[in-house]
Symmetry: C2
Subunit: 135 residues, 2 copies
């Protein structure tokens, strides 16, 4: 029930990016300096965010990243999923994976499914625009 530090950094970096004017080209180095996140780590995090479609990347000199959507259209759940993968408390919730020995006779799965939706909903209710606000 703890998110990885990679995801933690991703939230910080995305919030910093959201405070810049829309469309500005932001290098990993710039955001790393602004947030205090180590540069190599920021690079990795931003790479994953770009792969997930939350950031648009441009290579070469003068390149950088920019938000793919408006800050209001990106949720905390989106950021976490981009870095950590699907939000699924247990393996059996994720549709494709079925390596649970109790599969079939498990009596609690339906309830866990409901709990998982509740948690996910709480995370989807927080937008990046909110996270970027001061205090």
């Amino acid at each position: 029930m703890r998110l990885t530090s990679l995801a933690d950094y991703a939230v910080v970096v995305m919030a910093a990016a959201a405070r810049h004017p829309t469309g500005a080209s932001l290098s990993a180095g710039l955001l790393a300096e602004e947030t205090g996140v180590p540069l190599p780590t920021a690079q990795k995090v931003m790479g994953r965010l770009a792969a997930a479609g939350l950031l648009l990347s441009a290579r070469g000199a003068g390149g950088g990243f920019r938000l793919a959507r408006a800050a209001g259209g990106i949720s905390l759940a989106d950021i976490i999923e981009a870095v950590e993968g699907p939000i699924a408390m247990t393996n059996c919730i994720e549709g494709s994976i079925h390596d649970c020995a109790l599969e079939g006779s498990c009596r609690v799965k339906p309830h866990l499914n409901a709990a998982n939706d509740a948690v996910r909903g709480a995370l989807q209710g927080v937008s990046l625009a909110t996270l970027a606000e001061a205090k």
Copy 2:
């Protein structure tokens, strides 16, 4: 954002225990067989649950475990915390630990705090009595 398999097993075992009559002495072997959880793992899980005060343990022949409180008074959050430790999405939320380099200049911490409370609330809203119900 995924709970460990130990916590997963804990939920299954506790739900099985809640289906037995109140006060009955339940050995780790019995619950392991009922749920399909490997016995050594069930032992470890139940040990932690007892240490957290969710189960009462009795040693020796004829001993075993029993629920410390009524099933309605135990929440999913309680079970997860018993096995995984405090529910805190980030290190900076946990009061005592402060090994975050961004501490002080971090702009998103207050928002994450609110998100954490929302997640925790969702988990506290599910009681063991609900988990023990069929389907």
